[in-house]
Amino acid sequence: MAIAEYLVTDDLTVLLGLISVSVFLLQNLYKPQPLVHPILLGRQSEAGRVRNPGESAVYRNYGTGLMGRFPLRPDKDVHLISDFLKADFESPRTLWSTKITNAQLKERAAAVGAGLAQLLPGNSSVLLVLNDGIEFLIADLALSASSITSITLTSPVLLSRVLEAHPPSAIITDASFLPHVLELIYDEHESHPKIIVVGQPDGNVHPKAVAEVEILGWADIEANGAKAARTAPVTAQNPSNPSTLAYYESASGQLQGVALSPENFTAGVTAIRALFPPSSGLSSLDTLVSAHSLSTPFGRAVAYTALYDGTSFATLPSTKLFHVTEARKNDVADIISATTLPIPTPTVAFLKPGHVQALTSDIISRAKSSWFYPLAWRHKFAGLTEGFVTKDSLWDRTVFDGARAKVIGELASTLKTVIVSGGPLELPTLTPIRIALSVPVINIHTHTAASGPLFATQALDLQILPSDGSALAHVGAPSVNVEAKLVGVQDSTVEAGGDPVGEVLVRGPPVGVPLGEEEKEDRWVKTGETGRVLTNGAFRMLS
């Protein structure tokens, strides 16, 4: 029969049959498992059931839920800023270039606090015009433990306006910025604040100003305070009293201030610790680097997280706000300079979009010199479409590890999480970033009015979503202790099933109280930014 002739099988058929079965199984079972189940990424925030006309519903993180209470503190005993320094943690860690233990840090803060108390009356305010360093942290710890309010600025151009709006009793500044500060004060002709200088001022300080203005050295304050600190009484602190004011410029150019209390900072630290995937939380073996200045509430919350978890910490040189030289750009050299400090190699980096994009383009251009690059890219991309990425794959070992090591050196092998904030990330750059870094990259949105992140993506979210008009990546759902709503929304669009678009308002424990709104009953704070809610509950910032 003709058919039987064609279907003749022999030993080779058996062999080929076995091979084809194993190839079939390999192809179907080799698909990598997504790092987070996609069903969770379709419902990232929980929306309220009712909305007011012209507004959207109130959105909360899906993990917190509409009925859940906001997490307020990382541990039940952490109420004040000084509680971030755990008493039972005794090993030293390096902060910038100083190796110090918690106990020593507390002592130094107490000494500075006592020194300042000798100089200034209670309920006064001190303006911190300092660049990031251990002195800033010690001054901040000292001031938060006393009844003196600290004032910080997010930009040096606000200095003259803040001196007018809220004249402080003292100013702590860097030696290099001293002439600029003196110039501004001298112009004021009002009662001059005392000036405390960190570092050695060089000789050419305006002589007239020196006669009128009292200039003291930081080291003297600390030394005087150390003698008095032992006998100083400890004042009871109320965590909900504002301990610091942060001034920033709103979108319309107006000077805006926000008052933050220790409660806001404990909530902010809780939110930052909740960003990390459960498998890679922070511990004392980590090292944090941050591109956010301590003068911003978020930058300070990152520093407090480092203090609380006992990690080493440093900020990048681009955080220098108060300087007379040109500003540092956000690029790879900035990141590498963090490794020149005596801290252990960083494991977690809080960077700005400029850093991440520069890093990605450098790594990709180095990787292109390898022969296997096109194949490696295809394999990595196939993994991404399944929701999986890892730093230990074959393609990393052959192509990308070498490229990363050439660009950032030792950092390539220790970096385990990157958190991006401070600006929008573009959608087309997401895939190259994820492939080049191959670690969880968390996109968050911060605002000066809040100490923690307002919105944060899921740590292991690797979705590639369409752009629907704006080419910016979404910033995820509201953070674990923030609720958000949009106002100025078109009701007709929303009733027809479209995405609500409007100004974002936020409320929650990490959000401070804007100055001038202390008497308001509802605590909704306008961020001044336009946002859009996607169907999966993620927010996309449009401005």
Binding site: L12, L16, L26, V50, F381, P428, I464, L465, P466, V494
Partner: protein, 171 residues
């Protein structure tokens, strides 16, 4: 019997082609298209990792009702069922068994049920006609007011607050 290596047999050729094709798919996964941002994504998580739900979760618009505009929401046409207690309008469509036309408390659907809730009665006398001004509830005793507040709490937990009730001519 020696192994016959005759690849001319169709079965062997077919298997060989299948193996070569699958191996090629494994070693060279599909290349991404030039624009790595897709136009559309699936609306079910089973159809792909990058997916988006088709629509937002439903939300109810908070509206101001008068007795006349509240009255049609009595479930007779199969639509939403609303009822008001002390000026707060609740969407009780989920409790159609109780508040629907055939339910035990169907009298309250689309009406101001404050007096009935306070006095714990479902009689028609507890309702004021829609043309008249709202029931001021002045003659209620303190324990009846407490009872009504208890019902408001129960309703707030169980159903959605979707509006407020004002006088007929206030709008």
């Amino acid at each position: 019997m020696p192994l016959s290596l005759d690849l001319g047999t169709p079965v062997n050729t077919a298997l060989l082609i299948y193996i070569l094709y699958s191996v090629q798919k494994i070693i060279f996964p599909p290349a991404p298209d030039l624009s790595t941002v897709p136009r559309t994504v699936p609306t079910e998580f089973k159809h792909g990792y990058s997916w988006m739900p088709k629509s937002h979760p439903p939300t109810v618009l908070f509206r101001t009702y008068t007795p006349r505009t509240l009255e049609p929401f009595n479930g007779l046409d199969g639509g939403r069922i609303l009822l008001a207690i002390n000026g707060v309008v609740f969407d009780v469509t989920a409790g159609r068994n109780f508040y629907g036309p055939d339910g035990m408390y169907g009298n309250f659907a689309g009406r101001d049920a404050s007096r009935g809730m306070a006095k714990q009665s479902f009689d028609v006398e507890m309702l004021t006609p829609v043309d008249q001004p709202l029931d001021k509830l002045e003659d209620l005793k303190p324990d009846e007011i407490e009872n009504m507040k208890g019902w408001i709490d129960h309703f707030s937990n169980k159903y959605i607050i979707c509006g407020k009730l004002v006088e007929n001519d206030a709008v």
